[in-house]
């Protein structure tokens, strides 16, 4: 404590902040170092992932063996569970919080919070973020938001039970769900999280625009930085819309306004328009960083330049623009004018094109490569192939007539999990295995990595692919007991199969947890550039000290010069001067 205070007292005198010794609190808790903040976001996200995963397993148990005792849950008190039997309102709370946690407290903190923080300064050759204190605040405000969100389980009436999409008026009036403070807390937590994301995104944009190393032009940036740059812009523009909608919902609930209540002249569909105007850019916020990560890792382990670098960058920019005009495809059956449905169908079909371009360019990157099957590469390949399925299944919903049938069925659940688990979460795994050495200075174990990857990949497909079948059978989302419906009873074996696979998917994460913590303390020490990669983070020591680089690197070329004929080795780091490159740079 006194250490921290003396540091604070002397900090004003220290001009060069790279080398002072900080106390425990400033190093590990209220750190302004982007790498420490990245680690904090990672631990927050992984902890929340365990909670969200356990909730998913409870949901799955209920669907496979409805209204039976859920093993190991007798300790959960009324009104959630009665002696291990789940109450329907708790089921609704579980799927609401599963999605809320996975979207807002797992994928966003890890992909954007952790890897945004870790990679942006390191890959553009900066010593830290533009606003380190704002960066620290961004994490701590996010952590407060997480605590507030979890607190919702401990208030009378239980947590929010209106789905993560929180459609009004179900969520606007307490008596409709029986949930009072749970819903308020859900709104308040996400408003706080919005502030955190806003601080993060301003920081990312400023850093990328202003702090690139000499020679690091925009079109020499790695694609993962492109993706994070675009995501930061989307966050900056989309989150205020969610925050406004949440404020309106809170006012309807607590101050007697009627924004979404028809009795007072309000409009229920207004909520959906506002939510999805945020929500559709949001799903691209979840997937774009994984696309960037996948692109970088594919190039490194195929030992080839990324195929069509500019097409990759422009297709992400295209997705960013189009993501603002597709929100209505969530509302085809909502009572919105069918003519609007037509417009949104066309824009939605068009947004599939940039995703197709990216997929073909990933294939192009593999073509003629010299592929190394490391754990990060396996996860990146899983990302590409699962994203293909998730992308293709989206075309069904884009077609308005087919959507009439599959809207609000398990087809949608299958689709979103192929994109967010198959896409984003395999992207997360790829990124953790790949950047772990830079982050913690030690390598993760390859054997354990493969023991984690293969069962995860297989169990993932056994869990989520049959959900397409349920959807085609007409199985609705968010129902607590499918056996209540005659037409769903023949589908019950599929539900059982999914649940058994989901339990397998959960168990398959144990090797990852073991590998993560074992490697953290006892993994092989990592050299600066263990993967022989080109980008700037590998120029810094592993892990990089405060200030990152011994000297700020100068960039001579793009990030993907693998197997270049100019050098004998199969890689050519961005900062290595060559005579011909220097000549080229001078022109």
């Amino acid at each position: 404590m006194s250490d921290a205070m003396s540091v604070a007292a002397t900090a004003t005198h220290v001009e060069h902040v790279g080398h002072e010794k900080l106390g425990f609190v400033r190093t590990y808790i209220f750190s302004t170092d982007h790498k420490m903040i990245a680690r904090q976001f990672l631990f927050l996200g992984l902890f929340m992932m365990i909670l969200g995963g356990l909730m998913a397993l409870m949901i799955r148990w209920e669907l496979a063996w409805p209204e039976t005792q859920v093993p190991g849950t007798r300790w959960i008190p009324e009104p959630f569970m009665t002696d291990g039997y789940m109450n329907p309102s708790f089921y609704n709370q579980l799927f609401t919080m599963h999605a809320t946690i996975m979207v807002f407290f797992v994928v966003m903190p890890i992909l954007v919070g952790c890897f945004g923080n870790l990679l942006i300064p390191l890959m553009i050759g900066a010593r830290d973020m533009a606003f380190p204190v704002l960066n620290m605040l961004s994490f701590w405000v996010g952590a407060v938001s997480g605590v507030v969100m979890l607190a919702g389980f401990f208030v009378p009436g239980g947590h929010a039970a209106g789905g993560w999409t929180s459609y009004a008026p179900l969520t606007a009036v307490t008596q409709y769900t029986g949930v009072n403070w749970g819903q308020n807390i859900w709104c308040i937590s996400l408003i706080i999280l919005g502030i955190s994301s806003l601080m993060g995104s301003i920081n990312y944009i400023t850093t990328i625009v202003n702090m690139r190393a000499p020679g690091m032009t925009f079109f020499r940036m790695p694609l993962v930085i492109w993706s994070l740059f675009i995501v930061a812009i989307l966050l900056l523009l989309a989150l205020p819309v969610l925050t406004s909608a949440l404020a309106m919902l809170l006012l309807d609930r607590m101050a007697g306004t009627s924004f979404f209540l028809p009795a007072g002249g309000g409009e229920p569909l207004l909520w959906q328009h506002l939510f999805w105007f945020f929500g559709h850019p949001e799903v691209y916020i979840l997937i774009l960083p994984a696309m960037g990560i996948g692109s970088d890792i594919l190039a490194v382990f195929a030992r080839k330049p990324i195929f069509g670098y500019r097409a990759m960058a422009f297709s992400m920019i295209g997705i960013a623009f189009l993501s603002w005009i597709v929100w209505g495809h969530h509302m085809f059956q909502s009572g919105m004018s069918p003519a609007l449905g037509t417009g949104f169908m066309i824009s939605t079909m068009v947004i599939a094109v940039p995703s197709a371009i990216k997929t073909f360019n990933w294939l192009g990157t593999l073509w003629g490569g010299s592929i190394r099957y490391t754990t990060p590469m396996l996860n990146a390949l899983a990302f590409v192939s699962m994203f293909v399925i998730g992308g293709l299944s989206g075309i069904y919903m884009a077609s308005t007539p087919v959507d009439i049938f599959i809207h609000d069925t398990y087809y949608i659940v299958a689709h979103i999990h192929y994109v967010v688990f198959g896409g984003s979460v395999f992207g997360i795994f790829a990124a953790i295995y790949y950047w772990f050495p830079k982050m913690f200075g030690r390598m993760m174990n390859e054997t354990l990595g493969k023991i984690h990857f293969w069962p995860t990949f297989i169990a993932f497909n056994c869990t989520f692919f049959p959900m397409h079948i349920l959807g085609i059978g007409g199985h609705m989302r968010r129902i607590y007991n499918p056996m209540q419906y005659e037409f769903l009873q023949p589908l019950q074996p599929v539900n059982v199969f999914i649940t058994v696979s989901a339990i397998g998917l959960g168990l398959a994460q144990i090797p990852f947890v073991i590998n993560f913590f074992w490697s953290l303390f006892a993994g092989k020490k990592a050299e600066r550039n263990p993967w022989k990669a080109n980008t700037l983070e590998w120029v810094a020591p592993s892990p990089p000290p405060h200030g990152n680089f011994d000297t700020i690197p100068v960039v001579y070329r793009g990030p993907y010069e693998y197997s270049s004929p100019e050098v004998a080795e199969d890689y050519l780091p961005q900062n290595r001067p060559l005579v011909s490159a220097q000549v080229a740079a001078a022109h």
Binding site: G266, F307, H407
Partner: protein, 219 residues
């Protein structure tokens, strides 16, 4: 996989199913193309000593091809979808029978207009969770909600339409086969959402007349 679709018993259901199949074949073929190519590349181009990777940054012709081809397919798919979309949701055919369905937590209140064919008159009849309609006739459903958003879902008719409080939304269908079909709510509507369901009874013409006589003996 498509054999899991519930039996179709509406006139436009086959158009929707046809599109469903079309997209299934297109996406299935695309997936196979991508998956086979990927697996082939993963085997052919695995790392082997002494064989360097090909140094290339891309190919503009290929970029143009794989931008234009998917774009054309998707735009054509949009236009094909539009025909069916306009038919099902974009227009209302002249009605043979009107039914008002008012959703509430957690029931469907079904109001029949009676012999005068007008809703909101003396001879209206109300039933819970039972929709009785004649086969081969155009039925227009006037959808309302008393509390939250519900969704009127007829899996066998390929019809889904949200019921939104504060407004009336019309939807139509024409049954092709007599029988008893489930009518679940497809939009989360509270703790009783699961289990909120009714039945649609599609009667042959004579049986329907008998049903009408039973309920409106004076007519």
């Amino acid at each position: 996989m498509m054999s899991w679709l519930p039996e179709n018993v509406s006139t436009y259901g086959k158009d929707i199913d046809r599109l469903f199949y079309l997209i299934y074949y297109i996406t299935g073929a695309t997936f196979l193309l991508v998956a086979v190519t990927m697996v082939a590349f993963l085997i052919l181009y695995r790392h082997r000593e002494g064989r360097p990777a090909r140094y290339t940054h891309g190919n503009t012709t290929l970029e143009i091809i794989w931008t234009i081809v998917p774009a054309v397919i998707l735009v054509v798919l949009s236009f094909m979808s539009q025909a069916t979309w306009g038919h099902v949701k974009g227009h209302m055919p002249p009605a043979d029978v009107h039914v008002q369905v008012t959703a509430k937590q957690f029931n469907w209140e079904v109001t029949y207009p009676g012999p005068d064919g007008k809703l909101g008159t003396q001879d209206d009849l109300e039933m819970e969770n039972e929709v009785h309609v004649p086969v081969n006739k155009v039925i227009i459903v006037h959808l309302k909600s008393k509390d939250v958003i519900h969704s009127f879902f007829l899996p066998n008719f390929r019809l889904k339409q949200d019921a939104v409080p504060g407004r009336e939304i019309q939807a139509w269908f024409q049954a092709t086969k007599p029988g008893r079909y489930e009518l679940p709510c497809a939009e989360l509507c509270g703790f009783g959402h699961s289990g909120m369901r009714g039945w649609v009874y599609v009667h042959p013409a004579d049986e329907y007349d008998k049903w009408v006589k039973e309920h409106w003996p004076s007519a």
